[in-house]
Every structure is written in C-alpha cells, then in structure tokens.
C-alpha cells in the first residue's frame, strides 16, 4: 500500500468514524441520564435525512435552510417522543421503558414506510461538496472533510453545553443521582427534554451527513448505522460523551482498515470489528472510558 492509498483510507475512516461518533453521542447522553437505551434513536436519524429531502422537493427550500429546519424539527420530535413514550414510564421498571423504546422505533419505521414509501430516494448534494480536489495522488471530495469538521464542531458545542452551562450542570447532576437532583430543585423533566432535543438534533445532523456521504434514503436506513453506533457507545463506555466519540471513531477505523489491510476478510468486516470489540470489553467490561457505577435500586 502506498502513501496516497493510505491517506485515502485514513480520510474515509475518519469520515465514517465521525458519523458513528455523532450517533453514538445520542445513545450515550440518554443512557447517562435515564439508564435507557433509546432504540428510537436510529429512526430519528432516518427522519433527519428524509426531512431535508422533503424540505427541498416539497417546499423548494435552499439546502442549508432545509438542513437547519430539519435539525430543529427533529429535535422537537425527539422531545415529543420522550414526552409521549418515556416520561409516563419514568417510575416504571426500566424494562418497560426499554420496550416502549422498541415500540417507538418500530412505529416510526413503519410510519416512514407508509408515508415515504420503501423505494430508495435520491439525495440532493450541493455541487461544492462534490467537486474533487487533488492533492498529489490523493483525491479528496470536500465532503470527506466537511463531515468530520462539522462533526467536530457539533461535538465541541455539546461539550460546551454540558460542561459550561446551567442546563449542562443539570444534566450532569441527574446522571449522578436523579432523586437528589429533584430534591435540590433541578427541573428534571425540562433537563431530560433538553437532553432528548440535543441528542435528536445530533442524530438528525448525522443522518443528513450520512445521506450526503451514502446518497440514498430508505425508511430502514437508520437501523444498521444506529446499531453500530450503539455498539461504539458501549465500547467507549456508555454514559461517557468522550467515550462515545472515541468508540465511534475507532469503529470507523477498524471497519475500513480491516478491509484495507486484509482485503480477503472484507466479507467478515463486521464480524472482525465486533470480535475486537468483544475482546476489549472482556478486558474492560465498562468500556474504554466507562466508570463503574453502582446499581441504583
């Protein structure tokens, strides 16, 4: 493998990895606060991509406007999902909320199949993202840089919210101990709604970028990326935002580099990636950056 090919593989890995990371953050935020695996997350991701499509085709919005509108709308949908499907079950056993999450996931998927139809749709891509740049022998689409950069920006914004704002303080407090937070006067439901809003906005952003990178829309498009990002979140240590980022990027690199260095294993690339992840979890059961938490009864 020459240097140019390696750089190309490296950039492809970075793009894929940053998309996984962005989705993984959504899983990890909700889990960190509610100890709930939000299975509907991958459908939120799908909705984000579709809403851009409809914004452009139905309302003739310019692409950046459609993108922002979609992210805002999807954040609203995320909050609504929490209000309808999770909040009433806050005091119920954890398994009930989990089943509710699976239900929401199936519901959204089927709604999408009925309204959007199962045929794959094309994706609009602004021309400036498509014109390849040549750096010596390396061929780079602006898109390949755009995705990791925007992801990085969104992650930094998130870190700012979580660690430097009052709402972020609330999030961190709830994730430590929800009961005590109530008693200390944190408006728990508002903070949780905000968490869902932010998580869903990130999912929408990653859905939109995923559709730019792999340009087709399908109602089940969220299932596999969502599943992989969830595993990335567990791998990095679920509940930890930094862990989700590291897990996501690592998974992207493992997937691409496996094929790059062992082309014969390409068909087993998922199996190979997951065997590696299982190995790491066996050594460090809480994930890379996970902290051991005592079970709250």
């Amino acid at each position: 493998m020459n240097l140019a090919t390696f750089i190309q593989h490296f950039l492809n890995s970075l793009t894929l990895g940053s998309l996984y990371a962005l989705i993984a953050i959504g899983y990890t935020m909700v889990y960190g606060i509610l100890r709930l695996i939000n299975f509907a997350h991958s459908e939120i991701f799908m909705l984000g991509a579709y809403l851009v499509f409809w914004g452009i085709t139905l309302f003739h919005l310019p692409w950046p406007v459609a993108m922002v509108a979609s992210i805002i709308l999807v954040a609203g949908i995320g909050i609504l999902v929490d209000r309808i499907a999770y909040r009433p079950l806050r005091d119920a056993p954890r398994i009930s909320a989990l089943i509710s999450a699976i239900g929401v996931s199936f519901f959204l998927q089927n709604v999408a199949i009925v309204f959007f139809q199962a045929i794959p749709r094309q994706v609009y891509r602004p021309a400036w993202l498509e014109n390849p740049m040549l750096w010596g022998d390396v061929r780079v689409l602006p898109l390949t840089l755009f995705v990791p950069l925007l992801s990085l920006f969104l992650m930094l914004a998130l870190v700012y919210i979580v660690y430097h704002t009052k709402a972020g303080l609330g999030m961190r407090a709830i994730s430590k101990d929800i009961e005590t937070s109530y008693l200390m006067g944190v408006s728990v439901n508002k903070v949780i709604a905000l968490t869902f809003g932010i998580g869903s906005a990130l999912a929408a952003a990653s859905g939109i970028m995923w559709a730019l990178r792999y340009p087709q829309l399908q109602p089940i498009m969220g299932a596999i990326p969502g599943f992989k990002a969830f595993i990335a979140a567990v791998f990095g240590g679920i509940g930890s935002i930094q862990g989700a980022v590291i897990g996501g990027v690592a998974l992207g690199f493992i997937e691409i580099m496996t094929v790059a260095f062992f082309p014969d294993l390409a068909g087993y690339r998922d199996a190979f990636a997951f065997v590696l992840l299982i190995g790491i979890l066996l050594v460090k059961p809480t994930g890379l950056l996970g902290v051991k938490t005592e079970d709250k009864v």
Binding site: Q8, L16, R269
Partner: protein
C-alpha cells in the same frame, strides 16, 4: 366394515379417474397456471397473453386441436399446488405451462413431478425450480447464468483482460452470478485480479473500491441490487475509478439513474434477451413483435409475454418431434430440445432442464436504458 366400504369407494374413484384419463384422443390438452390475481398478477397476465397469442397462431398440432385450460394460482404457493392438481386430475392435461415466480413454480412443480406431467416454467429463475426434477423445465435462464453473459461481453466486446468482482456474500443471487462470471472469464483467458466481498445493508464501499482500484482492472462486475449498486458506482466515481462497471438484472430499475445520477452513465447490465427496442431480432421475435403490436395497439410487448409465447411453442415443438402427445413422450422430447428458435432467442435445454440461451445486454446512455444486443454466453 365401514372402513372397507370407504376403501373400496376410494379405489373405485381412483380407477374411475385412471380410466377417464385415456379418453379425449382427438385433442391435446395443455394446462396453464399463472398468477392472474394477487401481487404477481402483472407478470402473470402478460405471460398469459403471450401463451394465448401462441395458441392462436398454432391451435392445431398433428391434426389434433389444442385446448388450453387456464387456472389462476393467485400468487399463492398453496393455490399454486391446488391449481396444478386441478389441471392434472380434473382437466387431464398432457403438459403444463407455468409459472411466473420461482416459489409458485416450486409449489406447483411438486405436484406435476409426482403425477409425471411435464411442466415448462415461464419466468421462474431460481436454480432450485428444476433441481432434481424429472418433469420440470423452463424457457428462461437461471439467474447465475447471466454472470457468464456479462463475462463474455466484457472479454469479447469490451476487450477486458482483467476483471474485478465485488460480491454481496449474504445474497445467493450475487454469489451465483459472480461464480458464473469468474468461471466464464477465466475460461476465455481473462484474469480476475480482485475479489472483494461485502454484506447486504453495507453502505460504505470505499475501502473495497480502493483495493480494487489498486489492482487496475478493466472491468468491475457488481452483481448486487440496484440500491447498493447505485451507491457503489457513486463512490467509485468519487474515488476517481477508471474501470467500466457491469451488473445483473437486479439493477434493472428506473430508480438507479435517479440515485446514481451521472455515476451510472455507461453502466451495463444483463437482462432477459427480449426487448421491443432491440436491434438484432430474429424472425420469430420480429413476427411476435409485429403481431403483438397489431393486437394490442399502444401497449409495448415485454419479455414476460415473450416467455409465455416461447413456453407454449417449445411444448408444441416437443410434441412434433415426439410424434405423440403422451406426457412421457413430451417430457423426453423436451429434455432433448436443441437449438429451438423462439422470441427470446435460440434455446437449448441442458441436463438440468434449464434453458441455455442468449443473454440480453442493456447500457445506460444519457440517463436512459438502451438495449445493446444479445450475447451467447461462453460457459
């Protein structure tokens, strides 16, 4: 005692039926079972029209009148078996045409096979339909056969010497086509320089494509479905690939240009060897197209109708060669079919009872599907 009565009644019925089947010597009875309602009705209706057109053209064989018995299998496996049962037991047919849909053909085939009545499939392309069966045939090629067609075109017409394969290992169709491509391409003297795999549902093919590009093949064969195919082509173009790309009939979907855009321009895929726009039609196909257009103004003939037509005609051909319309005689003659000229090209029935025939080739030009020509695959 009661059991004995029932038994003797059943016996009497069986004997009665057996006795009846010898009757009606002055007609040839052909059964047709097709999905005329349900989800596959679109294809079934067209195939029936093809069969009826052929029947109208050749309503008599060896001085005997040919009678058609049409039963709807309702796109359902159970109905399919019932339909064949009815054709054999009630209508006493000597040969059966059908059907559209491999699973329907398999369900019906079980019944024909047991009864020893020859059955000729129209558009059931799964290899399992005829596997291990003595009485089941078909006029369409089996899916993987297209792989050989693509390889032949790549080697002979495109002059490709080095080919690469990108295979969906979770999909029998994809693996089958790739195997046939490989065998045929190697046999002609070409070299497969890269074989990369992926799994259904994958969306990132950059790593595989990068590896393929480093081997500099002349042509890349991707026997996938159109949705994945379009994305593969898009990514290949983004990475700056220079090879030509080919695929199988699963790529035959108008959406492919919508999703792939200019990345699918020049893409070629194999398909059934009949299209009203094809340039190199044989006289049978020419006549079929003209007759169809006369009978159905404003509605283009399609390959399903052509296969229905061919299924009927290949049975007539077998009866003529056998000099008899007895089911066993028809079966033996069908198995020996060689160089039968039909609408969908020249057909030879091979030892697995599948049709060896030309493969059609389509290219996307200016965002539109264009029929390039028919290829006789090098097996």
């Amino acid at each position: 005692m009661k059991r004995l009565v029932v038994l003797s009644l059943v016996l009497a019925m069986v004997c009665g039926f057996a006795g009846m089947s010898v009757a009606a010597d002055d007609t040839v009875r052909i059964g047709v079972f097709l999905p005329l309602t349900g989800q596959n009705a679109f294809g079934g209706q067209l195939e029936l029209e093809g069969v009826q057109m052929a029947h109208k053209e050749m309503g008599e064989i060896m001085g005997k009148k040919v009678e058609l018995f049409v039963v709807d299998n309702k796109s359902d496996k159970v109905e399919s078996a019932n339909a064949v049962k009815r054709l054999i037991e009630k209508e006493k047919v000597q040969a059966i045409i059908g059907t559209y849909g491999s699973s329907l053909a398999m369900a019906g085939g079980e019944v024909s096979e047991k009864a020893g009545i020859p059955q000729v499939g129209t558009s059931c392309t799964n290899p399992l339909v005829t596997q291990g069966k003595k009485y089941i045939f078909r006029v369409c090629f089996i899916d993987p056969f297209q792989g050989a067609g693509a390889a032949t075109y790549a080697f002979k017409d495109l002059g490709a010497k080095k080919a690469a394969l990108l295979i969906d290992v979770a999909n029998d169709y994809s693996v089958g086509l790739a195997n046939f491509f490989k065998k045929s391409f190697n046999k002609m003297g070409g070299e497969i320089v890269a074989t990369l795999n992926y799994q259904s549902g994958d969306q990132d093919f950059t790593a595989q494509l990068q590896e393929i590009m480093s081997k500099e093949p002349d042509v890349l064969f991707i026997p996938s479905y159109f949705a994945e195919g379009a994305i593969i082509m898009k990514q290949a173009k983004e990475l700056g690939s220079k090879f030509k790309i080919m695929g199988g009939d699963a790529m035959d979907n108008p959406e492919i240009t919508a999703i792939g855009g200019d990345a699918v321009e020049g893409f070629m895929h194999t398909t059934f060897p009949y299209d009203p726009s094809m340039p190199d039609m044989n006289p049978v196909a020419k006549k079929f197209t003209a007759d169809w257009n006369k009978a159905n103004p404003g509605k283009d003939p399609n390959v399903n109708a052509a296969l229905g037509y061919d299924a009927y005609m290949i049975i007539m051909d077998a009866i003529k060669r056998a000099g008899s319309a007895e089911p066993q005689a028809i079966t033996d003659a069908l198995a020996a079919t060689k160089g039968f000229v039909g609408v969908t090209g020249t057909t030879t029935i091979n030892e697995t009872h599948d049709a060896e025939k030309p493969v059609g080739l389509v290219m996307i030009k200016g965002g539109k599907k264009t029929y390039v020509g028919s290829i006789t695959p090098e097996l």
